[in-house]
């Protein structure tokens, strides 16, 4: 937009919208790259996870490649993951979702993450974790599907039956298919 008249100077119009406030908090602090401290359990507003958190979680998954995971035993990776989910909740899970769904991490590490996501005791993130586990049943990687199955087994939630049945109808690995059927039986009993 230009100012009318004889001026040839380029102009830029900078609109600003702000809450009327007499606070002294720097405006920059309002939009800084930190984890939100506003409760948003019921909110569906889009909230971008902080870039710093993305880098941290990506690095944790990267470091996880060097670990040897043993069934049922907590690893440094799973302990760190658990702390992050409890500390950052939805923000952390959004990053984990991108890394796992878009297959940006090693299947073995993704599988370990899913196994532990089913075991974490954290009510606030429960629905999101269950969604991610059910979603991961359709992963291209059988390792990831296996991790999701173990996670769902730990959750022991009847509401997963429907998604397990869809996954069974798509499953190409006979061993996994049998495990999925066993879990359906477990949940139905």
């Amino acid at each position: 937009m230009r100012i009318s008249g004889s001026s040839t100077q380029p102009t830029n119009m900078i609109p600003t919208v702000r809450l009327v406030s007499s606070g002294t908090r720097p405006i920059k602090a309002v939009n800084n790259d930190k984890i939100s401290d506003v409760p948003r359990e019921a909110s569906t507003e889009f909230h971008k996870s902080p870039d710093a958190l993305y880098s941290i979680i990506e690095a944790i998954f990267w470091a996880g490649r060097e670990e040897c995971f043993e069934d049922g035993l907590q690893s440094t990776f799973s302990k760190t993951l658990e702390s992050l989910v409890k500390e950052c909740g939805k923000d952390a899970l959004e990053v984990i979702t991108i890394l796992i769904v878009y297959e940006r991490v090693e299947p073995e590490v993704a599988s370990e993450a899913l196994r532990w996501l089913g075991r974490i005791e954290h009510l606030e993130s429960y629905e999101y974790r269950r969604w991610l586990l059910e979603r991961s049943l359709s992963s291209f990687s059988s390792r990831v599907r296996d991790g999701a199955l173990l996670g769902l087994s730990s959750m022991d939630d009847k509401r997963s039956i429907k998604h397990l049945k869809v996954a069974i109808s798509r499953e190409t690995n006979s061993e996994l298919e049998a495990d999925m059927k066993s879990l359906v039986e477990q949940l139905e009993s």
């Binding site: 380029p10 900078i14 009327v20 019921a42 569906t44 870039d51 049943l137």
Partner: protein, 266 residues
């Protein structure tokens, strides 16, 4: 704030609100297949102005301008693994010198948005188990005092003269009454505040536009801002059928209109 002896005076209707943005958010079922889609073209009848893939966030984003006798704004379709957003918002780069950055009156913009969204939900939307209607509404006022006076008429308490820095957010959950789906809880979030809008003009030399030599404060405007986020609770894993989806979304919109009309009511 005096909580007692305050009788809210409900303003007329949603007509007095202008819409800054309207949003539909659909949360896909874990079994939904989100592959290649041409929802935009099917809904709008044309290609979007831009298609962007943000590698880090995994967001697929399509954008285009919608201009007709009811709305003028930017429509955005953003797809992520865990959510699909349709948002119709004002174009900030074209902020008017007078008035507020809106897409049109709430009632007219909502007519258009609802018509498009219901068409999408009935025809091509994937399996969804949670749905939300969001809106940011503005009501122009003459100054801060006027803003607070307007806000008071929508709230169950009054704001004392001379008070400032007011912001109020509340969730008043309800069950959907006429739905066939049993126990569908709905979150009714509303956030009330007063805003001040300033438009500035920066000037600089033609050979170095980044160097600012002069600044003119073009105009200042005031408004009441209402943010609505009406959504089905996240603990349902039941997929909603296409018919249920459109019915539920319609009801979420009605709940939003009720708050815009009557204020913060239970």
């Amino acid at each position: 704030m005096s909580e007692s002896e305050h009788e809210p005076v409900y303003p007329e209707t949603t007509i007095i609100w202008e819409a800054e943005s309207l949003r539909l958010t659909a949360f896909p079922s874990p079994s939904a297949e989100l592959g290649a889609q041409d929802w935009w073209k099917q809904l709008i009848g044309d290609e979007p102005d831009s298609k962007i893939m943000e590698p880090k966030t995994g967001v697929q984003r399509e954008e285009g301008r919608i201009k007709n006798d009811r709305v003028d704004g930017q429509l955005i379709l953003a797809i992520q693994p865990n959510r699909i957003d349709w948002q119709l918002g004002s174009i900030l780069e074209e902020l008017p010198l007078r008035g507020l950055p809106t897409i049109g009156s709430f009632s007219e913009a909502l007519d258009f948005f609802l018509e498009k969204m219901l068409a999408w939900l009935k025809s091509t939307a994937p399996a969804v188990n949670r749905l939300a209607f969001g809106a940011v509404l503005l009501q122009p006022t003459s100054d801060l005092k006027d803003s607070y006076s307007h806000i008071s008429s929508y709230l169950p308490f009054g704001l004392d003269e001379g008070s400032s820095d007011f912001s109020y957010q509340i969730n008043r959950p309800r069950k959907l009454s006429s739905s066939d789906i049993p126990d569908l809880s709905v979150n009714r979030l509303s956030k009330w505040s007063a805003i001040k809008l300033s438009t500035g003009i920066f000037t600089g030399p033609p050979d170095n536009p980044n160097q600012i030599t002069e600044y003119f404060n073009n105009s200042t405007r005031f408004a009441v801002r209402l943010e609505l986020d009406i959504n089905t609770a996240p603990n349902s894993s039941e997929e909603l059928s296409a018919l249920e989806l459109s019915d539920v979304f319609h009801q979420l919109v009605e709940l939003g209109k009720e708050i815009a009309d009557k204020g913060d009511i239970k």
